[in-house]
């Protein structure tokens, strides 16, 4: 079995360290298939990312994923869940951090911690309309600057534009 798929005790230790540090802001955590998976309150996102980078050694941001939970809002009616995927090498260890953000709410930018979050956050802003505070250059990345609406939201039509063709 590849090393990446074995549950490792050091991951549980890392998870305990995180829970010890941020206590009630960690809403849930597990170690599955060689991966740390945690749900966090959005308020501690910035210090948590820094903790993962500086103290747990997760050196890079692999992906940033946004899901529109239009039908089943999470955590007190918040519309979007935002997932940060981190990895560390050597060692092939992954972490998954999930936070929830409501429509009109914002998240702290991850760019000061992980510079590669720059375009990923611009994409999330363009496609879902989530603002990231402290981002050096938050503009649309794919759609034109004067485009109206955020295409990957579930209430955006597959064809046409908001309010008809």
């Amino acid at each position: 079995m590849p090393a990446a798929l074995v549950d490792r005790p050091e991951l549980r230790k890392a998870l305990d360290a995180l829970t010890g540090r941020f206590a009630d802001a960690v809403l849930g955590g597990a170690v599955e298939a060689g991966e740390i998976s945690v749900r966090l309150r959005a308020e501690i996102l910035a210090p948590a990312l820094r903790f993962f980078r500086d103290e747990l050694g997760f050196s890079a941001l692999e992906d940033l994923i946004v899901c529109d939970e239009y039908q089943a809002p999470v955590e007190g009616g918040k519309r979007f869940s935002v997932i940060y995927r981190l990895y560390k090498f050597p060692g092939a260890v992954r972490a998954r951090l999930a936070v929830a953000v409501g429509e009109g709410g914002s998240l702290p930018s991850a760019v000061p911690v992980y510079p590669s979050a720059n375009w990923a956050e611009r994409e999330a802003f363009d496609m879902f309309g989530i603002p990231f505070e402290g981002h050096p250059d938050l503009r649309r990345i794919y759609m034109a600057d004067d485009f109206e609406g955020h295409p990957l939201r579930k209430d955006f039509p597959l064809a046409g534009r908001i309010g008809g063709l």
Partner: protein, 364 residues
């Protein structure tokens, strides 16, 4: 001469961008101060479209992402769906997938070598690279009828089995590549013009490369050993013996050397996979309409461009709730400004080429 900053536009129609990419450059005489890539000219809303299709219908659309390595896209997507649905892929199908994915890597790297040399001004290498690539595309044509948008990998396995004549043909193609590779190396390795345009150009340190999230050959050229095939193996890659070539200087020349060495390693892997091809089925039995209980899966592979990943979320229906692609070209292009700063304007083309980007994948 007095300092005078000039803004320059490169693209969206420019032969060296291999697609429609616009670069907004700020230059002081010949020296690059800033580079800002402007994306979206090829944006087709793939991720939105996928939410309206069944899991199976998505597969041929992934061909249109990185259209120089369509099989790699098929593989990454199918592995993510299989992980989510808990589908077991037969061992033989896994080996066939490795053969196809490595042939695709050979085709992609050979095309890159040709394009890259052509961008720098060495026209003949393009012909050598493309001649070798043509053989591989012929194999794909014989395998499933298509050459570019191949759609050779399906959820649960591969389109069809590898029969004896096709295996013999693949072996002949593989035998011919080293000779052609030697021709290319004879033209470029010690070529003074090539070296002046590539050695020490577009450098990025290992630490910066990690910060910028670089993956694939550009990351390994900076000396970071990170290859999904070795570090988080999938599709039986753990069964094969191969090396992960590394560069030392993180410049354009090292990216060239890393890719050429990867070609040799891919030939080794295909040879081993064909030798050890196990008996069995070439695909698992998968229902025509696949319904997956609510869940989320993330799977990454080492595509020719870098680490390609898919996050798929299911909601119990036959269509995905959300598909997010982690596109290696998108992330690699982000570091272009860092690599270009302080270099000459004429080197932007070479640095951009050395990243091996495909706009179909960046713009989604």
């Amino acid at each position: 001469m007095a300092f005078r900053e000039i803004d320059l536009n490169m693209g969206p129609q420019h032969p060296s961008t291999h697609g429609v990419l616009r670069l907004k450059l700020a230059v002081d005489n010949e020296v690059v101060l800033r580079v800002e890539p402007v994306l979206g000219y090829l944006h087709r809303g793939m991720e939105k479209l996928w939410e309206s299709l069944t899991y199976t219908q998505v597969v041929p659309l992934t061909d249109r992402l990185d259209y120089l390595a369509s099989l790699s896209n098929n593989l990454a997507y199918c592995l993510a769906v299989e992980k989510l649905a808990g589908i077991e892929v037969p061992k033989r199908a896994q080996y066939i997938r490795v053969v196809l994915a490595e042939l695709q890597r050979l085709a992609s790297h050979l095309a890159w070598t040709g394009f890259m040399a052509n961008d720098i001004g060495a026209m003949s290498v393009l012909l050598y690279g493309f001649e070798a690539r043509e053989d591989i595309l012929d194999v794909f044509e014989e395998y499933c009828g298509a050459r570019l948008t191949v759609h050779g990998i399906r959820i649960g396995g591969a389109v069809r089995d590898l029969d004896a004549p096709l295996i013999a043909r693949i072996r002949t193609v593989l035998e011919r590549i080293p000779k052609r590779l030697a021709d290319i190396r004879a033209l470029l390795d010690e070529n003074r013009i090539w070296k002046e345009r590539t050695v020490g150009i577009g450098r990025i340190s290992a630490a910066d490369a990690i910060d910028y999230g670089l993956t694939g050959p550009p990351l390994r050229a900076s000396g970071v050993a990170w290859d999904m095939r070795r570090d988080i193996p999938y599709s039986s890659y753990g069964d094969f013996d191969f090396e992960v070539p590394l560069g030392a200087n993180g410049d354009v020349y090292d990216r060239y050397l890393v890719r050429l060495e990867e070609i040799c390693q891919s030939i080794r892997i295909v040879g081993q996979a064909l030798d050890g091809l196990p008996d069995g089925d070439c695909a698992a039995r998968v229902p025509r309409i696949l319904r997956i209980p609510p869940g989320e899966a993330f799977h990454t592979i080492e595509s020719p461009k870098g680490v390609l990943g898919f996050t798929i979320r299911s909601n119990g229906s036959d269509k995905p709730e959300r598909v997010k692609m982690k596109s290696p070209s998108f992330i690699n292009l982000q570091s272009l400004e860092h690599m270009c700063k302080g270099n000459l304007f004429s080197d932007v083309v070479g640095i951009l080429g050395s990243l091996d980007i495909v706009l179909g994948e960046i713009d989604k």
